[in-house]
Amino acid sequence: MVDMSINLAAADMMMASLAQGPVKLGVTDLNISYGGIPALRDVNLTVKEHEIFSIIGPANAGKTSFLKALNRMDTFNTNMKVAGEILFNGLNVRNLKNIYALRSRIGVVFPLPVGLPLTIYENVALSPRLRGINKTSDLDVIVERCLTRAALWDEVKDRLDSLGSLLSGGQQQRLTIARALSQEPDLLMLDEFSIAVDPVTTMRIENVLKELKQDMTIILVTNLVQQARRLADRTAFFLEGECVEVGKTEDLFTGAVKDQRTRDYVEGKFG
């Protein structure tokens, strides 16, 4: 009887997901801790293909830790312990042998831009080179396409040979996005990308993201509730290491929330 109900629930979830497109990412019972101190507890959610999925929540909610677990960044930091199941394209990233292939499929953009100490051109050409693309004509095409998509091409097309790290903060962030796009990722993860970026550039990047949705799945971690509202198809609310609620973004903002804490946060009563 118990088994039966679980199966029914699973079937329900499957039906729901089929209705809105195939599952890109399935997270089950995800727990993350640093040196024994939990950062994220029992997170269950799914992200579907070609949607912008945003994660909102105050500082210390575990949003960044969540992204790090997807990309297996726990291997950088021996202190970070991850338990649970993360299915990316149906494969459990926890058991993957080839984490290099996994990471090359996932583009990551962090709050502070990281312009590698290479030329603008090489910043974007690096990932293709790592994949073994070395022909200049091919690289030229990729570099121009990625910089254009990141809304940076017009500003830098005449100085591709100058250092990426000398660009302004907003430009470097777009360069970082261009670099992530040069990976031709399945999944693009942005972690509060607009923190070091002016409002105009933020708007430009947001428009870029809306277009990119056609080609990839996007997970957007943001402090700005309104940014999630503008962009996201579905939104999760994280609070103090707990995934409080996942739902359609419009539901979260029109008051159709299940949890009072979500309502309070969205309305700006704390956080």
Partner: protein, 289 residues
């Protein structure tokens, strides 16, 4: 309102006292350098000439030039560098880029620190046992160079690690996140940005190596050789040992000869140091972040 209180006056007096005290100490520090250089130039400058640098010693080393010793020092330093740089840089890359923080790496670190503290005469005796006798290189440039290499390894490792550490971790993580392996990251991002520091360390290393005497006097440097070394398996003369010999072991040496040898040795070291400084300034000018 801004009248000086007695406390202000007292603080100001103490302030001046300490400033002058520290200034005196700094000047005190420069005095030996200036005196050494001035003495060497005054007493040994007269003997320096192209002939002095490029001819053999004659009359039982009481006349003539220093060419075999100069060349020998270059040979020994070259062997020492060829051995210590690849080894030291590779070890530093492993320790900084690959190794986790565990008992194994901690033991290695401890070993490096202790190696740096071993007195040079002990290195010399180790060199005799290991390279001259055990490996059968005999007293030769190879044995002397390798002994110096072991002695300088810790410095190469430490300076290389410092340069690698100066490359921000964010660059590495950005690279790893693109799916790059550790080696791809090291080759494309870390090393190109650390190479200036590594080279600077290496050049400084050369200057240290050139002046060492104890580690080479039992392993490859000869008292007097009438011919130039033909291969790394030959013995050779060396500037540092030659200085010791002409200053203390040979009767009837004119006074300006040992001072001249010392001047050449110090000029070599200073030349290396200034190349290193110029190089560092040049690369700092094109710092990339």
């Amino acid at each position: 309102m801004f009248a000086e209180s007695p406390l202000n006056v007292r603080n100001k007096r103490i302030e001046n006292l300490f400033r002058i005290l520290f200034l005196m100490m700094t000047i005190l520090l420069i005095i030996p350098v200036v005196v050494i250089l001035a003495t060497l130039i005054a007493k040994g400058g007269s003997i320096i000439s192209i002939d002095f640098l490029f001819t053999d010693p004659t009359n039982g080393m009481t006349a003539g030039g220093i060419f075999p010793a100069l060349l020998g020092t270059v040979w020994i330093v070259a062997v020492a560098l060829l051995a210590s740089v690849p080894l030291g840089v590779a070890a530093a890359i492993y320790l900084n880029e690959y190794a986790g923080d565990n008992w194994f790496t901690r033991i290695i670190q401890l070993a490096i620190i202790n190696l740096a503290g071993v007195p040079s005469i002990v290195h010399a005796l180790f060199g005799v046992g290991a390279f001259v006798i055990f490996f059968g290189f005999g007293t030769s440039i190879l044995a002397a160079g390798l002994t110096l290499a072991i002695m300088t390894l810790p410095v190469v490792i430490v300076s290389t690690r410092e340069s690698l550490r100066a490359v921000p971790q964010a660059f590495r993580e950005a690279c790893w996140n693109m799916g790059a392996t550790r080696w791809q990251t090291i080759r494309r991002v870390v090393l190109p940005n650390a190479v200036s520091g590594i080279l600077t360390g290496v050049i400084l290393e050369v200057s240290r190596t050139a002046g060492e005497t104890a580690p080479i006097m039992f392993t490859g440097a000869a008292f007097f050789l009438p011919f130039l070394p033909q291969s790394v398996f030959d013995q050779t003369m060396a500037l540092s040992l030659h200085l010791f010999v002409v200053a203390t072991q040979v009767p009837g040496v004119p006074e300006n000869l040992p001072f001249g040898v010392a001047l050449v040795l110090i000029a070599m070291v200073l030349l290396m140091n200034s190349i290193s400084i110029a190089f560092r300034m040049y690369l700092r000018g094109k710092k990339k972040w």
